[in-house]
Structures are given as structure tokens and as C-alpha cells.
């Protein structure tokens, strides 16, 4: 039986950060187990930007953020087993991990410590219990994201999104950029669960209505979705009779929240926390099971990947400590600080002629811009210099970074993620997408490769944000 000091379950942002930090603490005999065919986790399908502002002090797309960590993991020669599913974890001295893959079949590994970093999963339709038919065409936003961004396939043409979490907002834009018609984003709460800047750059930019205090009360279509009934809800979130209306669509995307992936944590016998919905941990991110640590979205659902990396680095260090210095008294449970839920209710009462929401970072400052008599702009409400520059640009010549993918021939996959190397004029988005959609490149592709030199006459290149062999 294989024996290592530390096993990390999950090779996404949490697993990689935990591995790197444990390595730096001197634990070099470690192993990452990843169920997918590559490291990076869900970041690989999050091809939009907005990642890394804290960790790398620059704005990256998901695959770029993942690549930075993958490069570091490779540089340190930290071993990983890909396409490997862990089916059971038991704590103790040592911990025992049961996994399987095509090469080795079922096998067990003994480890002095384990870091759980399996991430989270989306709430399914059943959890919402929406009545109606059960046709094809109901996807969780993340499943649709995988289809579009990894498989290069479109799951539908006319879309209704239920739930205004960030994934829902981002998929509304993504589907629109690829040519689908997004009819609306319905949100049962009186505020959006997504970041303000995503409401601006994913919905407002494309004229997609956000229906707050609305929900889907019925799904129509016997074989494929043919439409949904949308109704306004009252203060107790109950649909108000008489407000129902039929919205035709062939696809319903669900973006109704995430929950930690608890199968292994519970299988190990870890005590669970009803508030975080993940395992209970102490101040050293150790679960109630000896030798098993947890971090990232498997512990609680985070708002930003940067915070996942930070927490995971701590977990890796604590696990290293545990391996090097032995067990300490477990102490008491410390609930991880859960970020206050974004409650963004701006769209309906906003004066768009003078107010802009900054999309520069997740804070999403509401900035007021007034034209003074001398023609110069009076800008208030921003909390940093970037905000002022953004507001000025938004009032005079708005610009956006476009993220999408380009088809690849002869590669290990069919599409590679791309972005415009810098922002392009907002009115060029469509022309830019037309060129991106008709482009075809040959594998291999590396991050940063210029794939279109001058997109839509902007003199700005389109560059790859992921690798493809």
C-alpha cells in the first residue's frame, strides 16, 4: 500500500493552494488526487475574468488563475493523480484513502494527514421542487457552463435563468454572446445574490431584464422545455395569484445556490455544521475526524476564489504542522467567517443617466457623475482611483474586456478560452464575438498566445487564457 505524508483530495484552487503551502512548510511527500482529467477544478470552465485581484493584484480569467497555480505545482514537482476518484476517506493515525482510476483500479493510500478540497456543487431542481413537467432542457448554470465553455456546445437558443447568483448572471451573458436570447433572469428575493458589477456587465450591457421578487412556478413542455410560468412573489416569497405569465423558452438555467460537496466528509464521520453546511472545524481547519483538514468550498461556499486560496494555504500549513509536530488538543470549533451575502437591489431605482456601478472589482461602488458647466465631470461615490477612471470612461467611451472561447483543431479538447488583451469599446463587442466565433486555431495553444491580432479593427489582440495540447 502506498504511504505518503499528506493526501489532498481535489486539484482545484483549494487543493493546489493547500499543497503548495504544505510543501513550503517542508511536507514534500504529498499527493493530489483529482477526479477530472486536469488540475484547476471548476476554474477551467469559468472563462470570464474577475479572478485574482487579491492574490495576484491583477484581473485574471478562471483558467489563467488556475494556470498560475498549476505552473507552481509543476515547478515544485508536486505529484498528482488525475482521473482518480476518491470513494472513501477514514481519519486516524494514519488516515486511509480509498480511490480508483483506470490505471490502478481500486487502491488504498495511507497518509499522516488529509486535506479535503473537493469544492461544492449546485442545488438541483429537486431541492427547489418546481412543479410541472420534467423535460430535457433544464440545466444547472454550471452544467450549461461546462457544455458551452469546455465542450463547445450550446444547450439551447431561448433561455430563462432562475436565480441571480453570479453563475446565473455570468451564464446569461455567456449564452447571449454565443447568440442565444436570454429572456430574463428571475430572482425570488427582492435583491440579487450576485455582485453588482455582474448585474451591470452581464445583464445591463445586453438589455437582459432582472426580475426581482419573481420565481418560476411551473415548467412547461413534455419532452423539451417549451416555456415557464413566472410569477411575482410576496414578502413571504409566495407567488401572488394573478401575476403569473408564460415565458416561452427552450432552456431553463438554474442558479440557485451552492452547497459544499459533503459525501466524503460525511463518509469520514465528520461532524457537520448546519450554518456553513460543511464540516465543523477548529481554529486550525481540522475537522472533528483525526488528521482530516478541510478548506475551500467544501468547508463553506466562498464568494471569491482568492479567499479560497488564502484559506487553503492556511489549511495546508496547519496540516503540515500536524504532520511535523504531532497532534494538539482539538480545542473548540471555530466557524469560518462566512461572507455577508451580496444583496444587490439597485436596478429598479437607479438613475442611469447619472449613476454608474463600477465593475473594476467586486465591491461595485455606485458612482455619481455630473457634468459641470465647464464641461468637466464631477465624480463622487468612488472609493478608489480606478473607480474614477472607470466612471469617466463609462460616461464618455465605455469599454469592456470580452471573454469567450475559440475552436481548436487537433487538440486534446475542442475549444480554448480567450480574452481581449485589454478592454475594447463596448459597441465593438458584437463584432468582436463574430470574429471569435468564426476563428479556428490549431493546437497546441499556450496561455498568452495571440490568436487574433486585431479584433474588430480595435488594434487589440485576442489572446488565449488557457493551454491546449
Amino acid at each position: 500500500m502506498k504511504t505518503v505524508d499528506l493526501v489532498i483530495i481535489g486539484g482545484g484552487p483549494a487543493g493546489m493552494a493547500a499543497a503548495l503551502s504544505a510543501y513550503e512548510k517542508g511536507i514534500t511527500d504529498l499527493l493530489i488526487l483529482e477526479r477530472d482529467k486536469e488540475l484547476g477544478g471548476i476554474l477551467n470552465q469559468c472563462i470570464h475574468n474577475g479572478f485574482g485581484l487579491h492574490t495576484f493584484r491583477e484581473e485574471l480569467t478562471g483558467p489563467e488563475y488556475a494556470c498560475r497555480y498549476i505552473d507552481m505545482v509543476k515547478e515544485k514537482r508536486i505529484p498528482s493523480l488525475l482521473n482518480t476518484m476518491v470513494v472513501d476517506v477514514q481519519g486516524g493515525m494514519p488516515c486511509l484513502i480509498t480511490a480508483m482510476n483506470k490505471e490502478s483500479g481500486m487502491f488504498q493510500i495511507k497518509a499522516k494527514a488529509v486535506v479535503l478540497a473537493m469544492g461544492c456543487r449546485e442545488r438541483a431542481r429537486g431541492a427547489m421542487n418546481i412543479p410541472g413537467f420534467r423535460p430535457a432542457g433544464i440545466y444547472s448554470a454550471g452544467t450549461a457552463q461546462r457544455y458551452v465553455n469546455i465542450e463547445g456546445r450550446m444547450p439551447g437558443k431561448e433561455i430563462v435563468v432562475l436565480g441571480s447568483g453570479d453563475i446565473g448572471l455570468i451564464m446569461a451573458r455567456r449564452m447571449t454572446l454565443q447568440g442565444a436570447k436570454v429572456k430574463m433572469v428571475a430572482e425570488i428575493m427582492p435583491y440579487s445574490g450576485g455582485l453588482r458589477r455582474n448585474i451591470v456587465q452581464c445583464l445591463d450591457d445586453f438589455g437582459i431584464p432582472l426580475k426581482l421578487s419573481h420565481t418560476v412556478t411551473e415548467i412547461h413542455g413534455k419532452e423539451r422545455v417549451e416555456g415557464v410560468t413566472v410569477a411575482r412573489v410576496d414578502e413571504s416569497l409566495k407567488p401572488i395569484p394573478g401575476t403569473e405569465r408564460f415565458v416561452s423558452c427552450d432552456t431553463l438555467l438554474l442558479s440557485c445556490g451552492l452547497i459544499p460537496e459533503n459525501e466524503l466528509s460525511q463518509g469520514a464521520g465528520a461532524q457537520m455544521d448546519e450554518v456553513t453546511q460543511g464540516p465543523v472545524v477548529n481554529g486550525r481547519l481540522e475537522t472533528t475526524v483525526k488528521g482530516i483538514f478541510a478548506c475551500g468550498n467544501v468547508l463553506h461556499v466562498h464568494d471569491l476564489v482568492d479567499n479560497v486560496s488564502k484559506e487553503a494555504a492556511q489549511a495546508g500549513a496547519y496540516a503540515a504542522d500536524y504532520i511535523l509536530n504531532g497532534e494538539e488538543d482539538w480545542g473548540e470549533a471555530v466557524r469560518p467567517k462566512i461572507p455577508a451575502k451580496s444583496k444587490c437591489s439597485l436596478p429598479e431605482d437607479r438613475d442611469i443617466s447619472s449613476q454608474v456601478i463600477c465593475i473594476g472589482c467586486p465591491v461595485g461602488c455606485m458612482i455619481t457623475v455630473k457634468k459641470k458647466e465647464d464641461g468637466s465631470l464631477d465624480i463622487t461615490g468612488n472609493t478608489c482611483k480606478k473607480g474614477e477612471a472607470y466612471a469617466r470612461s463609462e460616461f464618455t467611451a465605455p469599454v469592456r474586456t470580452v471573454t469567450s472561447m475559440i475552436c481548436v483543431q487537433g487538440g486534446s479538447g475542442v475549444v480554448v478560452p480567450v480574452k481581449t488583451a485589454s478592454e475594447i469599446p463596448k459597441e465593438k463587442i458584437q463584432a468582436c464575438m463574430d470574429e471569435i466565433k468564426s476563428a479556428l486555431v490549431k493546437a497546441p495553444v499556450r496561455v498568452g498566445d495571440v490568436l487574433i491580432e486585431n479584433v474588430a479593427g480595435t488594434n487589440i489582440p485576442v489572446v488565449a487564457t488557457g493551454n491546449m495540447d
Binding site: 482521473n83 449546485e122 431542481r125 412543479p131 420534467r134 419532452e223 475542442v414 475549444v415
Partner: protein, 484 residues
């Protein structure tokens, strides 16, 4: 020219097909769906009823008890999931206790063994979570649960292995009398046979009316259900029925053979024979009534809801409420197997034999010498021991590639489901054979992978893959033969 055409590949049609496959007959099953088990057989309670419900002397009573007795052996022969978990009919009012005694008496007349009336204390020993209002119950140790897909698919596969042909996507459009029997017009062409067996479920009236003046009408009776996560599957161990109360006919709470918890069904007569939508009212009713039987079923643990349609006969010339299994008076050689509502699933093995006996009398066929009575199901990695797992993987490494995380279903199992006799061609087909997509995420994670495997194995584009029906597509076709 066939000897027998069976219309409908539900549990009745497949059970009959399997029994006929013991005989030297040329038999074909015509099914309008793309798979077996696409109608009433796919959405029901999955209960093997003990047999105390039906009126003594009826076909329902006889075939229920017989079906119940046959189920265990059949599950061993054909390798599908079945469990004798016992059932309880819960009584909520002291005044109703005598109804339990009546039920017990009726059951005994029907030949049900082991029936016992238990007081609350005795019920609590078996079912500690039972509702506070429960005062007594009728205990039926022979009650059981079965996987309705597993049963139907196993019967069909075994029939096919023994030479019965199956044609899918073959909706029957008309039936004509010909000299030697009947000609059946379908979407897939015309078929002739000496005997026709009408096992068309909720459509059995339409098929019947194609040959007979004696009009039949089936009004689908919809039942809505809620299915709960396996983490609450052990809240009950037996199947809990309710004695009808002032609130109306009760609903059941039961574990499933796969360890989930199931509640339902409601009962509502509808006109639409494909009206499988659930409703808020219906689901609320299920939740409200289930709370009587079991305390504190957590609402958050619901993983899906669904509804099924019972083939309830509302117009017929003879006594109401019984199965209609007989040769049609004005259409010799045309056998109705109609009105197969509850306990139809339980009765299926007995219905198969009963109809085969009718066929034997009419056609006097010889028995087949090389009939193979057993069939092996798809191995389940989730249920296998470590040694069995290791063995499966060493034979085919695809058994190490987990596709459905929730139910731990591997690529090996999915490939097996696709390539076996009457293999899966749709994602629902894969789901019903392997449980991929049946778990708590309801296919959110595995759906793209299952679609990919189906497309790869059938050598078609992913846009060709369907959930179940012809219009249930998942992905748009590629434009000009490329990705987005």
C-alpha cells in the same frame, strides 16, 4: 407473419413477452416509446402489495397474491432489486380499528398469510418514526418493494434473449382484420399476427376501440410523488399505507429498494394521457398527508418530484374496478390486458402466466427446449464488495471511471447498459438501467458525460442524443460541422 403481437412494452407487455418466450411462437412487441418501461411502469410506487386490498374473487385479488408469491424467485432468476420489507396500514382513529380487522379478513380470504393487527406500541417497535396519531396498524409481512424499471427491463431483456423481437418508436395507428388474424399499422410499418395482445397501458382503450364496437374508456388517474435523499431513506423500514380518513384516500411512505424515501401518490382524474406534470397543490397534499404517517420528514431532503398515470377504466360494459384480461367478444384473437392499475406491478408476473395460458389455449404451441430462464443484471460498483470491484476493473478499466458521483455509477456500467440486449439509447434509458442521474444532484454533474458516452458509442453527434422522447434533445447541432 407473427404468431403474437404484443402492443406495449410496459411491465405487463414485457411479463407476457417473457412467458411467451418459453413457447415456440414468433412474438413481437410494438412500443411507441424509444425504450421499454416508458409509461405507467416507470412512475409508480414500486410496491409489491401483499394482496389484502382487492375484493375477494376478483382478478386483481387472485393475480396480486400470485404475483407477490412469484416476485422473490423472479428477482433471483432475473437479477433485479426486490426486497420483502413488510407493510403496515396505519390507523389514526380508535373508531377505525375495526376497519383494520375487515381488511385483515379480506386479506385472509384472498390468501394473504401472516396478517396481524398491531397496537401503537407494537408499531413503534417496527417503525419508531411513525406519526403521533397512529393508534394501530395492519401488518403484512409479505409486502415488499421492487425497482419498477429493474423488473420491466429484466423481463424484456430475458424475453428478447429468448427470441422475442422488440420494435421501438412504433406507435400503433390502426388495426385491420385479415384472413389469418390482424394487421397492425405502425409508424415503423405494418405487422401481421394471429393473435394481438393489447397491453397499451393508458392507451389500451384506444387500441381496443380500433377492433371492437364495445367501447372502452380509460381516464388516466394521476398520482404525484416526492422522492427524498438517501440520507433520510432509513426513516422507515416497511411500507406505510394509511387507512382512508376523513381527509380522503391516504398516501404511502416507503423506502425504495435503492434506499431513498418515497411519498405519494395523489389521485386526480385527468384527460391528457401524457399529462405527467406535477402541481404545487398535488405536492403540498403529499407533504401534508405524509406527515400523518411519519414525523418530521425533512422538506429539504426532497431530490425530485414526479407523477405517474394509472390506467383507470371509466367506461366498460362489465363490473368496474377489476383488471380486464380477456379475449374481446367481437374480435376473436384479440386479447385485452387493460385497466392494469394498482396492484398491476405486483401482479405482472402472474399476468404474464395468465395471458400465456390464454395464448396456449388458442394457439396450442409447443414449449421451447432451449428457453433460458435467467438473466444477469448490470453489476453495480456502488453495491459491490472491494474484491468484486477489483475484479470488474481488472476485466474492464472503465469500471474505475466514476461518471455519476451521487450514486457511484461508472463508465463500465453505462457501457454495459448501452451494449446489452435491448440496450439504452437515451439518457433516461441509462438512468433506469444504472441509476446514473438518480441521485441527489439529479444528473447535474453526470448528464454531459452520459450524453458524451451515448453519442460516442452510437457514433452520432451529441445533438442526436435524447432524454426519452424524439423531441427531448439536449444540445443544438453544430453549425457547419464545428463547435460554437
Amino acid at each position: 407473419m407473427y404468431d403474437v403481437i404484443i402492443i406495449g412494452a410496459g411491465v405487463s407487455g414485457c411479463a407476457i413477452a417473457r412467458e411467451l418466450s418459453r413457447l415456440q411462437l414468433k412474438t413481437i412487441v410494438l412500443e411507441k416509446g424509444l425504450d421499454v418501461c416508458e409509461g405507467t411502469s416507470k412512475a409508480n410506487s414500486g410496491i409489491v402489495h401483499a394482496g389484502y386490498d382487492a375484493k375477494p374473487g376478483t382478478l386483481k385479488a387472485k393475480l396480486n397474491v400470485e404475483g407477490n408469491r412469484k416476485m422473490k424467485m423472479l428477482s433471483e432468476e432475473l437479477d433485479f432489486a426486490y426486497k420483502q420489507n413488510g407493510s403496515l396500514v396505519l390507523c389514526f382513529d380508535e373508531k377505525d380499528k375495526e376497519k383494520l380487522e375487515e381488511l385483515k379478513e379480506r386479506g385472509e380470504q384472498n390468501g394473504v398469510t401472516g396478517l396481524q393487527v398491531l397496537d401503537r406500541e407494537a408499531v413503534l417497535v417496527i417503525e419508531p418514526h411513525v406519526g403521533n396519531q397512529v393508534v394501530a396498524a395492519l401488518y403484512a409481512p409479505t409486502g415488499g418493494i421492487v425497482c419498477p424499471f429493474g423488473l420491466t427491463i429484466a423481463l424484456a431483456e430475458n424475453a428478447a434473449e429468448n427470441g422475442v423481437e422488440f420494435v421501438f418508436d412504433a406507435k400503433v395507428n390502426g388495426i385491420n382484420r385479415v384472413e389469418t388474424g390482424y394487421q397492425v399499422e405502425t409508424k415503423k410499418g405494418n405487422y401481421e399476427a394471429r393473435l394481438i395482445i393489447n397491453a397499451a397501458g393508458v392507451y389500451a382503450d384506444e387500441v381496443h376501440n380500433m377492433v371492437s364496437e364495445d367501447e372502452m374508456k380509460i381516464t388516466p388517474r394521476k398520482g404525484e410523488y416526492l422522492l427524498y435523499d438517501k440520507k433520510v431513506g432509513d426513516m422507515v423500514s416497511s411500507t406505510l399505507f394509511q387507512l382512508p380518513t376523513a381527509l380522503g384516500k391516504g398516501i404511502l411512505v416507503t423506502p425504495t429498494v435503492h434506499g431513498n424515501l418515497l411519498t405519494g401518490p395523489t389521485a386526480l382524474d385527468i384527460e391528457d394521457k401524457e399529462g405527467l406534470e406535477t402541481s404545487k397543490d398535488g405536492l403540498d397534499q403529499v407533504i401534508e398527508k405524509a406527515a400523518l404517517s411519519v414525523n418530521d420528514i425533512p422538506g429539504k431532503a426532497v431530490i425530485t418530484s414526479f407523477s405517474g398515470l394509472r390506467a383507470h377504466v371509466t367506461k366498460w360494459n362489465k363490473k368496474e374496478g377489476d383488471f380486464i384480461i380477456e379475449e374481446v367478444k367481437d374480435a376473436p384473437g384479440f386479447i385485452d390486458v387493460a385497466g392494469i392499475e394498482s396492484p398491476g406491478l405486483t401482479s405482472a408476473p402472474a399476468i404474464g402466466e395468465y395471458v400465456a395460458d390464454m395464448v396456449k389455449r388458442l394457439l396450442k404451441p409447443e414449449a421451447k427446449e432451449n428457453f433460458k430462464s435467467t438473466r444477469k443484471g448490470i453489476p453495480s460498483m456502488a453495491l459491490a464488495s472491494d474484491e468484486e470491484r477489483q475484479k470488474l476493473i481488472s476485466e474492464d478499466p472503465a469500471y474505475a471511471n466514476v461518471i455519476c458521483r451521487c450514486e457511484m455509477v461508472t463508465e463500465g456500467e453505462i457501457l454495459n447498459a448501452i451494449h446489452r440486449t435491448l440496450g439504452a439509447t437515451t439518457t433516461d434509458g441509462v438512468k433506469r438501467r444504472t441509476r446514473a442521474g438518480m441521485g441527489r444532484c439529479q444528473s447535474g454533474f453526470c448528464n454531459p458525460k452520459v450524453v458524451e458516452i451515448l453519442a460516442r458509442e452510437q457514433k452520432v453527434d451529441e445533438s442526436e442524443i435524447r432524454k426519452s422522447g424524439a423531441d427531448s434533445w439536449y444540445l443544438l447541432p453544430l453549425e457547419e460541422g464545428r463547435s460554437l
